[in-house]
Symmetry: C2
Subunit: 331 residues, 2 copies
């Protein structure tokens, strides 16, 4: 895979007009009067790369299935993504999101919990206004998988004995699901959910799943290596929260008893400074980071192979470039 | 209104078989393997009076619109209710629910937030499997209103200057909405949401709205006067949380400057004992409680009048008796 030299805007050029339509739907869905409106306006500023929304549109275009409703489907997906972000920040105690204070920092945890619920409900409501209920079905199922993944993750705090497969199960559920759903819906909407998914729709779902898992693994690497000002959110959270991610699991699995004890201690023992610094002192993270990057690279290569069955279009070229973008992202 | 002498089971006798079907759907929706299953199993034990579910069925029967799908619609409603309970306990810091420890007590706040999200998603998913998307539409709209009401309530903590209308706006949104939705869906399902609601469906919605608001006012009274062992959840929470409810608003509005200061102090000043005791010492709550009970009674009388347009059936008789049950409830 060659490092990408395109900006994300360039990669999304083939679906720019539809992305703009998606944004209109999203902005309208986030516009409310009064007290709730003030809070949704803040959440609207968390809108970021809108990569998941773009995947709906690009996969629709790449499979020749794009309809007028695809931008709305994409907006529903972004709303669910925003809902998960608002709750995630509470769960993770993360105070910064896209260089802005999190909802629970501006207001309080109660507001953040309720705003997340509000966004979920608004997303589902929007999905019930579409002509096919495929999006409502796929995304309400997907939201359950995301929650199950997050619950599993919460239960596995400080679990240094987790296998790579178990880690990937959690990462796939909590992160890859929305990418998988985006790609599936792009390739399948507006079929009825009762109609079995086509071979192509299942292939696109697999592409999203690979891409999303790679995205999460790279996210976990960035939480260990990134600079908050570049990543746009606080880093070192995983260590603070007791989340044992792939790089650490790998280093731990290959450490001797003393090395393991030092890693555990950096995560758990009373600590006056930053736990991230303690972890860096406790072990050499490099081999773990290299292992995680290699795994992400392998997943992205597999994702690219899946795209080879599609006709060569500008949309497919964008999907290929997004895969390369994910591989090289620093934020 | 005569005090009811029936047990709730007797009142629900006309829809007993359908309530049993509702429970089967609900239990199935709450049965999951593994880690998530352990947590949903605990939430399943919070199932209580199932009054909202019963309203779907009774309103369906009373309007002659009951279908095979009504028990499923009722189950979706109960799932949303359970989701709000789990999040409410976090928002309110309430440690006991139906004489059981709350989710955030057994596990932690993270688990409670995620379990609520999971239950919302499961409810919406179940609603997308119905033949009409009326339930999905009405309930996703309703869930937004509930969140908006809760947000308004959070923003109005310690707001002693709230008008009764503002208080009722919050109480209606956070509590009456689910009753209103239940009654509307009972009388309207499986019409398309695109079809305007009939006069009768709007009347039934109004009945649910009145009943639900009265229910919340009585709940607020019980939080001031009830015994935890009878109510089945902790009491005195509102005072602890800075929620100024109708009885207190009334007493405050009629107090002199010194009396108002004493009430504010009971809510806000550092306090070693129970704030409820402090409030009881600060003022005579009785006139406020009497005022709130009178308002609830007025709403229930209005609710009963709405039922008079329905034919005289056993279902209507049950709805009348439920209204009397709400008037006299101690828990």
């Amino acid at each position: 895979m060659s490092p990408t030299t395109f900006s994300l805007e360039e990669l999304l050029a083939p679906v720019q007009a539809d992305l703009e339509r998606m944004r209109q739907v999203l902005i309208e869905a986030l516009s409310t009067e009064g007290l709730v409106g003030e809070r949704t306006a803040h959440v609207a500023r968390f809108r970021g790369k809108e990569l998941r929304a773009a995947m709906v549109l690009l996969c629709g275009q790449a499979t020749g299935r794009l309809t007028d409703e695809h931008p709305k489907v994409a907006a529903v997906l972004e709303l669910i993504h925003l809902a998960t972000l608002v709750h995630d920040d509470v769960l993770d105690g993360a105070d910064v999101r896209r260089n802005l204070p999190s909802v629970h920092v501006v207001w309080d945890e109660q507001t953040a919990i309720l705003m997340g619920d509000m966004l979920y409900s608004r997303a589902f409501h929007l999905s019930t206004c579409l002509s096919s209920n495929l999006a409502a079905r796929v995304l309400s199922m997907g939201a359950q998988r995301i929650c199950a993944g997050e619950l599993e993750q919460a239960a596995r705090r400080y679990d240094f004995g987790m296998s790579q497969q178990e880690y990937e199960g959690v990462a796939s559920a909590k992160t890859a699901e929305l990418y998988a759903a985006a790609c599936e819906l792009g390739a399948r909407y507006p079929d009825s959910p009762e109609e079995p998914a086509s071979e192509q729709a299942r292939m696109m779902r697999g592409f999203g799943e690979d891409l999303g898992l790679a995205f999460q693994i790279i996210d976990d690497v960035l939480d260990l290596t990134g600079e908050a000002s570049v990543v746009g959110k606080s880093v070192g959270n995983d260590v603070e929260d007791g989340k044992v991610t792939l790089p650490v699991l790998h280093v731990y699995a290959n450490a001797d008893a003393a090395g393991r004890k030092a890693i555990e201690s950096a995560f758990r023992d009373p600590c006056t400074g930053s736990r991230m610094d303690a972890l860096r002192s406790a072990c050499d993270l490099e081999p773990g980071i290299a292992h995680a990057k290699q795994r992400a690279h392998g997943l992205l290569t597999q994702a690219l192979q899946r795209l080879m069955t599609l006709p060569d279009t500008t949309a497919r070229r964008s999907l290929i470039q997004i895969t390369e973008y994910v591989a090289s992202r620093q934020k």
